[in-house]
Protein backbone atom coordinates (compact mmCIF):
# COMPACT_ATOMS: atom_id res chain seq x y z
CA UNK A 1 0.00 0.00 0.00
CA UNK A 2 2.71 2.33 1.09
CA UNK A 3 4.75 1.53 -2.01
CA UNK A 4 1.87 2.24 -4.35
CA UNK A 5 1.20 5.52 -2.63
CA UNK A 6 4.83 6.48 -2.89
CA UNK A 7 4.88 5.62 -6.56
CA UNK A 8 1.78 7.71 -7.12
CA UNK A 9 3.25 10.71 -5.39
CA UNK A 10 6.38 10.22 -7.45
CA UNK A 11 4.49 10.22 -10.73
CA UNK A 12 2.51 13.28 -9.73
CA UNK A 13 5.72 15.10 -8.90
CA UNK A 14 7.23 14.01 -12.19
CA UNK A 15 4.20 15.28 -14.07
CA UNK A 16 4.50 18.60 -12.28
CA UNK A 17 8.15 18.86 -13.29
CA UNK A 18 7.26 18.09 -16.90
CA UNK A 19 4.50 20.66 -16.89
CA UNK A 20 6.84 23.23 -15.46
CA UNK A 21 9.57 22.52 -17.96
CA UNK A 22 7.03 22.62 -20.79
CA UNK A 23 6.00 26.02 -19.52
CA UNK A 24 8.79 27.93 -21.26
CA UNK A 25 7.73 31.30 -22.56
CA UNK A 26 8.72 30.37 -26.12
CA UNK A 27 8.24 26.86 -27.45
CA UNK A 28 9.16 25.14 -30.68
CA UNK A 29 5.64 23.83 -31.07
CA UNK A 30 3.79 27.10 -30.66
CA UNK A 31 6.08 29.81 -31.96
CA UNK A 32 6.66 28.86 -35.58
CA UNK A 33 3.06 28.55 -36.72
CA UNK A 34 0.64 31.41 -37.20
CA UNK A 35 -2.14 31.76 -34.65
CA UNK A 36 -5.25 33.98 -34.77
CA UNK A 37 -3.67 36.11 -32.00
CA UNK A 38 -0.63 36.76 -34.17
CA UNK A 39 -2.85 37.92 -37.02
CA UNK A 40 -4.67 40.20 -34.60
CA UNK A 41 -1.32 41.68 -33.60
CA UNK A 42 -0.58 42.32 -37.25
CA UNK A 43 -3.80 44.27 -37.63
CA UNK A 44 -2.98 46.36 -34.58
CA UNK A 45 0.55 47.11 -35.78
CA UNK A 46 -0.13 47.86 -39.45
CA UNK A 47 -1.45 50.87 -41.42
CA UNK A 48 -1.73 51.66 -45.15
CA UNK A 49 -0.74 54.95 -46.71
CA UNK A 50 -1.71 56.25 -50.19
CA UNK A 51 1.70 56.75 -51.70
CA UNK A 52 4.06 55.05 -54.12
CA UNK A 53 7.13 56.34 -52.31
CA UNK A 54 8.22 53.54 -49.99
CA UNK A 55 11.64 55.11 -49.37
CA UNK A 56 10.06 58.32 -48.10
CA UNK A 57 7.99 56.35 -45.58
CA UNK A 58 11.06 54.49 -44.39
CA UNK A 59 13.04 57.72 -44.01
CA UNK A 60 10.21 59.34 -42.10
CA UNK A 61 9.98 56.33 -39.78
CA UNK A 62 13.72 56.58 -39.12
CA UNK A 63 13.37 60.28 -38.30
CA UNK A 64 10.35 59.61 -36.09
CA UNK A 65 12.17 56.90 -34.14
CA UNK A 66 15.15 59.22 -33.69
CA UNK A 67 12.82 61.96 -32.47
CA UNK A 68 11.55 59.59 -29.80
CA UNK A 69 15.05 58.72 -28.61
CA UNK A 70 15.72 55.51 -30.52
CA UNK A 71 19.03 54.68 -32.20
CA UNK A 72 18.92 52.86 -35.52
CA UNK A 73 20.51 49.40 -35.30
CA UNK A 74 19.91 47.88 -38.70
CA UNK A 75 18.37 49.05 -41.95
CA UNK A 76 17.91 47.77 -45.47
CA UNK A 77 15.97 50.08 -47.77
CA UNK A 78 15.70 47.51 -50.53
CA UNK A 79 13.91 45.14 -48.18
CA UNK A 80 11.91 47.89 -46.44
CA UNK A 81 13.39 47.21 -43.02
CA UNK A 82 14.43 49.28 -40.03
CA UNK A 83 15.29 48.24 -36.48
CA UNK A 84 16.00 50.57 -33.57
CA UNK A 85 16.52 50.43 -29.82
CA UNK A 86 16.94 52.60 -26.74
CA UNK A 87 17.90 52.04 -23.13
CA UNK A 88 15.72 53.65 -20.50
CA UNK A 89 15.04 53.62 -16.80
CA UNK A 90 12.35 51.13 -15.77
CA UNK A 91 11.96 52.14 -12.15
CA UNK A 92 8.50 51.51 -10.80
CA UNK A 93 7.53 53.11 -7.48
CA UNK A 94 5.14 50.28 -6.53
CA UNK A 95 7.90 47.68 -6.95
CA UNK A 96 10.22 49.69 -4.71
CA UNK A 97 7.52 49.78 -2.04
CA UNK A 98 7.25 45.98 -2.20
CA UNK A 99 11.03 45.68 -2.11
CA UNK A 100 11.37 47.85 1.01
CA UNK A 101 8.45 46.11 2.74
CA UNK A 102 10.02 42.74 1.84
CA UNK A 103 13.38 43.77 3.25
CA UNK A 104 11.82 44.14 6.71
CA UNK A 105 10.71 40.52 6.73
CA UNK A 106 13.89 39.28 5.09
CA UNK A 107 12.55 38.70 1.58
CA UNK A 108 14.39 40.27 -1.33
CA UNK A 109 12.46 40.99 -4.50
CA UNK A 110 14.76 43.19 -6.59
CA UNK A 111 12.76 45.87 -8.41
CA UNK A 112 13.05 46.69 -12.11
CA UNK A 113 15.93 48.97 -12.94
CA UNK A 114 16.77 49.24 -16.65
CA UNK A 115 15.03 48.36 -19.84
CA UNK A 116 15.97 48.08 -23.47
CA UNK A 117 13.16 49.00 -25.83
CA UNK A 118 13.28 47.66 -29.36
CA UNK A 119 11.39 48.65 -32.48
CA UNK A 120 11.06 46.85 -35.79
CA UNK A 121 9.57 48.67 -38.80
CA UNK A 122 8.82 47.00 -42.11
CA UNK A 123 7.29 48.58 -45.20
CA UNK A 124 5.77 46.87 -48.21
CA UNK A 125 4.24 48.19 -51.44
CA UNK A 126 0.68 46.93 -51.86
CA UNK A 127 -1.24 45.95 -54.97
CA UNK A 128 0.13 45.32 -58.46
CA UNK A 129 1.04 48.92 -59.21
CA UNK A 130 2.10 49.64 -55.65
CA UNK A 131 -0.24 52.63 -55.18
CA UNK A 132 -0.20 52.03 -51.45
CA UNK A 133 2.46 51.20 -48.92
CA UNK A 134 1.78 49.26 -45.75
CA UNK A 135 3.82 49.99 -42.65
CA UNK A 136 4.13 47.64 -39.71
CA UNK A 137 5.85 48.47 -36.44
CA UNK A 138 6.52 46.10 -33.52
CA UNK A 139 7.76 47.15 -30.10
CA UNK A 140 9.17 44.97 -27.34
CA UNK A 141 11.12 45.53 -24.15
CA UNK A 142 13.73 43.71 -22.11
CA UNK A 143 13.72 44.52 -18.38
CA UNK A 144 16.60 44.06 -15.92
CA UNK A 145 16.37 44.31 -12.12
CA UNK A 146 18.71 46.19 -9.78
CA UNK A 147 21.04 43.15 -9.72
CA UNK A 148 21.38 43.39 -13.52
CA UNK A 149 19.54 40.13 -13.95
CA UNK A 150 17.17 39.59 -16.83
CA UNK A 151 13.66 39.87 -15.47
CA UNK A 152 11.28 40.14 -18.35
CA UNK A 153 11.15 40.14 -22.14
CA UNK A 154 7.77 41.09 -23.47
CA UNK A 155 6.02 42.34 -26.56
CA UNK A 156 4.30 45.69 -26.08
CA UNK A 157 0.71 45.14 -27.06
CA UNK A 158 -1.12 48.24 -25.83
CA UNK A 159 -3.13 49.63 -28.77
CA UNK A 160 -2.42 53.21 -27.63
CA UNK A 161 1.30 52.80 -28.34
CA UNK A 162 0.63 51.89 -31.94
CA UNK A 163 -2.11 54.46 -32.41
CA UNK A 164 0.17 57.20 -31.21
CA UNK A 165 3.06 56.02 -33.39
CA UNK A 166 0.90 56.05 -36.51
CA UNK A 167 -0.66 59.39 -35.63
CA UNK A 168 2.81 60.91 -35.47
CA UNK A 169 3.86 59.17 -38.69
CA UNK A 170 0.72 60.34 -40.43
CA UNK A 171 1.38 63.94 -39.39
CA UNK A 172 5.00 63.82 -40.54
CA UNK A 173 4.00 62.36 -43.92
CA UNK A 174 0.97 64.64 -44.46
CA UNK A 175 -0.90 61.45 -45.33
CA UNK A 176 -3.86 59.69 -43.80
CA UNK A 177 -3.30 56.31 -42.20
CA UNK A 178 -5.79 53.59 -43.15
CA UNK A 179 -6.43 50.40 -41.21
CA UNK A 180 -5.69 47.19 -43.07
Amino acid sequence: MNRILRRRIGSVLLAAVFLLSGCAAVTLEADLSLTPEMLQQRELQTRRFDTTDERRILKTCAALLQDTGFSIDESDAQLGLLTASKERDATDAAQWAVFIAGAFVGISIPPDKDQIMKALVTTRPLGSGGQQVSVRVTFERIVFDTEHRLKKIEALNEPQIYQSFFEKLSKALFLEAHDI
Binding site: L32, L81, T122, E140, K151, K152
Partner: protein, 149 residues
Amino acid sequence: MISDRLHKTSFLLLIPLLLLAGCVSTHDRLLDMDTSQVQLRSIQSRAFDTTDKEKTMRAVIATLQDLGFMIDRADYTLGVVAASKARAEAMQMPGSLRITVTVRPRGEKQLLVRANAEYQRQPVTEPKPYQNFFNSLEKAMFLDAHQVD
Protein backbone atom coordinates in the same frame (compact mmCIF):
# COMPACT_ATOMS: atom_id res chain seq x y z
CA MET B 1 46.58 13.98 6.25
CA ILE B 2 45.94 11.19 3.76
CA SER B 3 42.63 12.61 2.73
CA ASP B 4 44.32 15.95 2.19
CA ARG B 5 46.81 14.40 -0.25
CA LEU B 6 44.06 12.49 -1.96
CA HIS B 7 42.24 15.73 -2.42
CA LYS B 8 45.25 17.34 -4.04
CA THR B 9 45.89 14.47 -6.45
CA SER B 10 42.30 14.24 -7.50
CA PHE B 11 42.29 17.98 -8.08
CA LEU B 12 45.42 17.71 -10.22
CA LEU B 13 43.82 14.89 -12.18
CA LEU B 14 40.75 16.97 -12.73
CA ILE B 15 42.57 19.79 -14.50
CA PRO B 16 43.79 17.86 -17.59
CA LEU B 17 40.39 16.20 -17.75
CA LEU B 18 38.66 19.53 -17.90
CA LEU B 19 41.12 20.80 -20.49
CA LEU B 20 40.55 17.71 -22.60
CA ALA B 21 36.80 18.00 -22.37
CA GLY B 22 37.02 21.60 -23.49
CA CYS B 23 39.04 20.67 -26.57
CA VAL B 24 36.75 17.90 -27.70
CA SER B 25 33.50 19.77 -27.36
CA THR B 26 34.69 22.92 -29.12
CA HIS B 27 36.16 20.91 -31.95
CA ASP B 28 32.98 18.86 -32.31
CA ARG B 29 30.63 21.77 -32.18
CA LEU B 30 32.43 24.22 -34.42
CA LEU B 31 31.92 22.11 -37.52
CA ASP B 32 29.01 19.88 -36.51
CA MET B 33 28.99 17.31 -39.25
CA ASP B 34 27.35 14.38 -37.56
CA THR B 35 23.77 13.21 -38.11
CA SER B 36 23.36 12.98 -41.86
CA GLN B 37 23.76 16.57 -42.97
CA VAL B 38 21.99 15.77 -46.22
CA GLN B 39 18.83 14.80 -44.39
CA LEU B 40 18.94 17.89 -42.23
CA ARG B 41 19.43 20.10 -45.27
CA SER B 42 16.33 18.68 -46.85
CA ILE B 43 14.33 19.26 -43.65
CA GLN B 44 15.49 22.87 -43.57
CA SER B 45 15.03 23.76 -47.25
CA ARG B 46 12.18 24.45 -49.64
CA ALA B 47 12.12 25.55 -53.26
CA PHE B 48 9.71 28.19 -54.58
CA ASP B 49 8.76 28.70 -58.24
CA THR B 50 9.91 32.30 -58.47
CA THR B 51 13.09 34.18 -59.28
CA ASP B 52 12.07 37.34 -57.40
CA LYS B 53 14.61 37.42 -54.60
CA GLU B 54 13.41 40.74 -53.19
CA LYS B 55 9.81 39.60 -52.94
CA THR B 56 10.88 36.33 -51.35
CA MET B 57 13.06 38.03 -48.76
CA ARG B 58 10.28 40.51 -47.96
CA ALA B 59 7.92 37.57 -47.45
CA VAL B 60 10.45 35.94 -45.12
CA ILE B 61 10.73 39.14 -43.08
CA ALA B 62 6.95 39.62 -42.99
CA THR B 63 6.45 36.01 -41.86
CA LEU B 64 9.01 36.36 -39.09
CA GLN B 65 7.39 39.59 -37.92
CA ASP B 66 4.00 37.84 -37.97
CA LEU B 67 5.46 35.11 -35.77
CA GLY B 68 6.62 37.71 -33.27
CA PHE B 69 10.32 37.66 -34.13
CA MET B 70 12.58 40.70 -34.06
CA ILE B 71 14.89 40.98 -37.07
CA ASP B 72 18.53 41.11 -36.00
CA ARG B 73 20.12 41.34 -39.44
CA ALA B 74 19.12 41.46 -43.07
CA ASP B 75 21.29 41.68 -46.16
CA TYR B 76 19.78 41.67 -49.61
CA THR B 77 23.05 41.04 -51.43
CA LEU B 78 23.87 37.97 -49.40
CA GLY B 79 20.23 36.92 -49.17
CA VAL B 80 20.38 36.50 -45.40
CA VAL B 81 17.82 37.30 -42.72
CA ALA B 82 18.56 36.58 -39.06
CA ALA B 83 15.88 36.94 -36.40
CA SER B 84 15.19 35.99 -32.83
CA LYS B 85 12.29 35.68 -30.46
CA ALA B 86 12.76 35.66 -26.71
CA ARG B 87 10.23 35.92 -23.92
CA ALA B 88 10.79 35.87 -20.19
CA GLU B 89 8.39 36.21 -17.31
CA ALA B 90 8.68 35.94 -13.56
CA MET B 91 7.12 32.49 -13.14
CA GLN B 92 8.22 31.00 -16.44
CA MET B 93 11.38 29.57 -17.87
CA PRO B 94 12.80 32.09 -20.34
CA GLY B 95 12.59 30.84 -23.90
CA SER B 96 14.62 31.87 -26.89
CA LEU B 97 14.37 30.93 -30.52
CA ARG B 98 16.82 32.09 -33.18
CA ILE B 99 16.48 31.58 -36.88
CA THR B 100 18.66 32.33 -39.88
CA VAL B 101 17.06 32.22 -43.30
CA THR B 102 19.00 32.29 -46.57
CA VAL B 103 17.57 32.78 -50.05
CA ARG B 104 19.51 31.78 -53.15
CA PRO B 105 18.81 30.79 -56.75
CA ARG B 106 18.16 27.14 -57.51
CA GLY B 107 18.51 26.52 -61.25
CA GLU B 108 16.99 29.02 -63.67
CA LYS B 109 13.45 29.19 -62.39
CA GLN B 110 13.49 28.63 -58.66
CA LEU B 111 14.70 30.08 -55.39
CA LEU B 112 15.85 27.92 -52.52
CA VAL B 113 14.93 29.08 -49.03
CA ARG B 114 16.83 27.51 -46.17
CA ALA B 115 16.09 28.05 -42.50
CA ASN B 116 18.30 27.14 -39.56
CA ALA B 117 16.67 27.32 -36.15
CA GLU B 118 18.16 27.24 -32.69
CA TYR B 119 16.03 26.69 -29.60
CA GLN B 120 17.47 27.35 -26.13
CA ARG B 121 20.93 27.46 -27.75
CA GLN B 122 20.51 24.00 -29.29
CA PRO B 123 20.19 23.36 -33.03
CA VAL B 124 16.71 22.25 -34.06
CA THR B 125 16.89 19.04 -36.07
CA GLU B 126 13.33 17.72 -36.02
CA PRO B 127 11.19 18.38 -39.13
CA LYS B 128 7.97 19.67 -37.53
CA PRO B 129 9.09 23.19 -36.54
CA TYR B 130 10.50 23.77 -40.04
CA GLN B 131 7.26 22.51 -41.57
CA ASN B 132 5.34 25.01 -39.48
CA PHE B 133 7.65 27.84 -40.53
CA PHE B 134 7.39 27.00 -44.24
CA ASN B 135 3.61 26.66 -43.96
CA SER B 136 3.51 30.21 -42.62
CA LEU B 137 5.90 31.39 -45.34
CA GLU B 138 3.79 29.79 -48.09
CA LYS B 139 0.88 31.97 -47.06
CA ALA B 140 2.95 35.14 -47.27
CA MET B 141 4.44 34.09 -50.63
CA PHE B 142 1.13 33.00 -52.21
CA LEU B 143 3.22 30.14 -53.61
CA ASP B 144 3.69 26.48 -52.77
CA ALA B 145 6.84 25.34 -51.08
CA HIS B 146 8.42 22.33 -52.76
CA GLN B 147 10.34 19.72 -50.86
CA VAL B 148 13.87 19.24 -52.21
CA ASP B 149 16.31 16.36 -51.80
